[in-house]
């Protein structure tokens, strides 16, 4: 297995996880990557995405694993990917020997809010607890965003301010950063133009997943 690390930015954030499967398959074909196909009646390449990215969130270091049928130098592969990717995608790294996807426990996100919402945001985040309802397929559950968030930081960024936070992102527990935005909106009203980027993944012990 090899791992491709890529970014998905700009309008590409509107491509859903389901559409990503199709998009990657076609990109692999266009790039002429000698990807391994499953045997059998309807052969298809085996692609393993690290963790679905919600529509509307950009990704800085997204991960996809696949098998090769033949060797190809990684540098060549990378440049082929970049030729074949649609607008908004960039191949950043390709390597072998990596942490298995199941070891992902957290992800780090940066939320950029318009500067004028900063005072309201700081007040909001100072609370002891921020309970929100998390909907799953079957039920809804109350969670505390404050309790779930780790190593939080704030930084200036031109007309925006960046709020960086680590949230659970695994098969056991997964918290969508959009919950923070909607909780804030409940307090301060609708926020236009909040940009969210998923920066990277972490393992249970908060060491970088790679």
């Amino acid at each position: 297995m090899i791992r491709l690390v890529f970014s998905k930015k700009g309008l590409a954030k509107y491509i859903s996880h389901l559409d990503m499967q199709r998009t990657m398959q076609r990109t692999l074909r266009r790039a002429g990557i000698p990807v391994w196909y499953s045997e059998g009646f309807n052969p298809h390449p085996y692609l393993c995405f690290a963790s679905p990215l919600s529509v509307g969130i950009e990704g800085e270091n997204e991960i996809i694993d696949f098998r090769l049928a033949e060797e190809m130098p990684f540098e060549e592969m990378k440049s082929r990917f970049n030729q074949a990717f649609p607008q908004g995608f960039t191949a950043k790294d390709i390597y072998e020997g990596f942490d298995p996807v199941k070891n992902i426990a957290f992800a780090e996100y940066t939320l950029s809010f318009p500067k004028d919402t900063q005072p309201a945001f700081e007040k909001f985040w100072q609370r002891d607890s921020i309970p929100v309802l998390k909907k799953t397929k079957r039920a809804q559950k109350e969670i505390d965003l404050k309790e779930e968030s780790q190593t939080v930081s704030l930084a200036e960024n031109g007309d925006f301010f960046d709020f960086t936070v680590i949230l659970p992102c695994g098969s056991e527990k997964n918290i969508n950063p959009q919950l923070i935005v909607s909780a804030l909106e409940e307090n301060v009203g609708k926020i236009n133009s909040c940009r969210i980027i998923r920066n990277r993944f972490y393992k249970t012990d908060l060491s970088i997943f790679q």
């Binding site: 700009g10 859903s16 559409d19 990109t27 692999l28 052969p43 649609p86 607008q87």
Partner: protein, 593 residues
């Protein structure tokens, strides 16, 4: 930024965000003409259409023209756009199309007309041609429905009649020559063949444009590859234009005459290029009747040599029953097992003779036998109700035909083990269309449609037969629009003003809204669709000359009533008149003669 905000709130943001692989973005400083190519329906439908891909490519090969795609937004998107006052924009640049030089609609089916009005309104372009000025885009239209442009003529500045690959380029060059002056351009364009400018009524019927040599005409070497799933999401290879059959109900069969094939070498080269460029894993051969392609086995063999190792599927829609061979079946199955579809269209031999669908019971049986022995367990059959001279006997014949297929399946010793058969009848309502031998015929009423549907249902007894049919109401309105005249523009406007849009979608179509508008305008369904027209009545579409003569259509109509068939063009030329415009492969004097 406003656009980004609303995209995060709509259901299918990928329909509006653009950026698909293969979409063409040009440097504005190098572009002299901006063209918004509008498909008046949702993205998933428009992106499945081959015509838009061809013309998008053709226009963009002109260095000074930038053609972009525009689709009808879905209702949630429309609402958001209105709230934020975002006018209809093109996908590539996100610029409002009202700033473009041209806004071009492709009219593929009548039920999309209200979408044209809606898109003009969303684009903030004056709805009526007469109200547009020099600062507005020139609104043009093409596609099969423009063979009768009258119902929508008040809203369109210029119609491009026929195959657009060359005609559109001529128009673009003319526009530059006229200094991009609207009035001058329309005046000059009206003098060019294939152009209908309603403002300047033509003295002679407007001749439909045809491409003589398909091998040398431009074909896309890349497609825009959508992110989200669309109806036809694959490499489409147009293998030929036109049809040799002359089924009397089929408008496409006459509009796209004569029969012109592309050579296998060119097709294989195009398939190779397109697969590489798009990354698609399926090729579909498109035409009106794939099995009439002379060198089909050769083409399939050569395509498969390329497809198999690359895991590319080959699909062959539009196969006919009568010349369906085991050999071809095996070729398709070599890459994918799928159900079979056939279109006998009528339930009895008598009625099939009337409509000139030269298919016999034996042929249907023969084909199914091959298919079943090859492992196929599902058959889809297309039929129509409401054909001229039809009686209940013919409708009963539909059920009987399906039943025979079920019986045949169970009688075969070599049928697939342990599997049962599923026969699906897909039932459409016949709508008489311009430029067919049935253009004078009366269309059955809504009551008759519903009665016939019920009757057929009562004739089906086997659980292995499934009957699918549509509400007949859409067919009634389609029938009015298809053979309509200029007075219908008032109806279209009224329907639109009363909220009519996305009328090709059952959940949005309102029959009552249409009937109300028709009545309010002092018109009737009976006048347009119900009554039988005499041969000597002037027809609204007499202003268009598709090359096939009225005399031929009258001859064919009379033969229909005598239950006489007309052989295919390959067997014998029926003298349809098309050679005046263009000679096909099998026409007298054509290249294969």
């Amino acid at each position: 930024m406003e656009l980004e905000n609303i995209l995060s709130r709509v259901q299918k943001p990928a329909w509006y965000s653009g950026g698909e692989y293969g979409s063409i973005v040009k440097d504005l400083s190098q572009v002299g003409i901006r063209f918004g190519f509008c498909f008046p329906d949702l993205y998933e439908i428009g992106m499945s259409h081959l015509g838009i891909k061809i013309l998008y490519h053709c226009l963009n090969t002109m260095p000074n023209v930038w053609c972009e795609r525009v689709f009808m937004p879905n209702l949630d998107m429309e609402e958001e756009m209105k709230k934020e006052n975002i006018p209809l924009f093109a996908l590539e640049s996100k610029d409002p199309i009202r700033e473009f030089d041209f806004v071009g609609f492709t009219l593929q089916y009548e039920m999309s007309y209200t979408n044209v009005l809606n898109m003009l309104a969303l684009a903030q372009i004056p709805m009526f041609s007469k109200n547009r000025t020099d600062t507005d885009p020139i609104v043009i239209a093409g596609g099969p429905c423009t063979c009768n442009p009258e119902p929508i003529a008040d809203f369109i500045d210029l119609f491009s009649i026929g195959e657009g690959e060359e005609h559109l380029k001529t128009l673009m060059n003319l526009y530059l020559k006229c200094g991009k002056n609207r009035t001058k351009f329309l005046q000059e364009a009206a003098k060019i063949e294939g152009t209908y400018v309603p403002q300047y009524p033509p003295e002679k019927p407007v001749k439909m444009q045809k491409i003589q040599d398909l091998d040398s005409v431009e074909y896309p070497d890349r497609f825009v590859v959508p992110f989200s799933q669309v109806v036809h999401d694959r490499v489409m290879l147009e293998i030929m234009r036109g049809c040799i059959r002359g089924c009397r109900f089929c408008q496409a069969g006459f509009l796209y005459r004569p029969f012109r094939q592309k050579s296998p070498e060119i097709l294989i080269e195009q398939a190779n290029k397109l697969c590489k460029e798009t990354g698609y894993d399926e090729i579909s051969l498109t035409s009106l009747s794939t099995s009439d392609y002379d060198k089909l086995p050769e083409l399939c063999d050569n395509l498969l040599v390329y497809c198999m190792p690359q895991h590319i599927n080959l699909s062959l829609p539009s196969l006919r029953v009568d010349n369906f061979t085991k050999e071809i079946l095996e070729k398709v199955q070599a890459t994918r097992k799928s159900g079979l579809t056939f279109a006998p269209e009528a339930g009895t031999q008598r009625l099939r003779d009337v409509i000139n669908k030269n298919v016999t019971e034996e042929e249907i049986e023969h084909t199914c036998r091959i298919a079943f022995e090859g492992g196929c367990t599902s058959v889809k059959l297309y039929f129509m109700i409401g054909l001229p001279t039809e009686t209940d006997e013919d409708i009963k014949g539909i059920a009987e035909t399906a039943q025979k297929i079920v019986d045949l399946y169970y009688s075969l010793p070599e049928k697939p083990k342990g599997k049962s058969i599923q026969v699906t009848i897909s039932l459409a309502t016949f709508v008489p269309k311009p430029f067919t031998p049935f253009q004078w015929e009366s269309q059955i009423s809504l009551e008759e449609i519903e009665r016939k549907q019920k009757y057929l249902k009562s004739q089906i007894t086997s659980k292995k037969i499934k009957l699918n049919y549509h509400d007949g109401k859409t067919s009634v309105i389609e029938g009015v629009l298809a053979r309509g005249d200029r007075r219908l523009s008032k109806v279209l406007l009224k329907v639109f003003e009363n909220g009519g849009k996305l009328d090709a979608w059952d959940e949005h179509f309102s029959y009552e809204r249409w009937i109300q508008a028709i009545n309010d305008c002092g018109l009737s369904v009976e006048e347009y669709a119900g009554r039988k027209r005499p041969f000597d009545e002037p027809l609204p579409w007499d202003i268009i000359d598709i090359g096939v003569s009225k005399e031929f259509f009258i001859r064919e109509n009379k033969k229909a009533y005598q239950e006489k068939t007309t052989p295919s063009c390959k067997l014998q030329c029926a003298g349809c008149g098309i050679t005046e415009l263009c000679s096909g492969d099998v026409c007298p004097g054509g290249k294969k003669q």
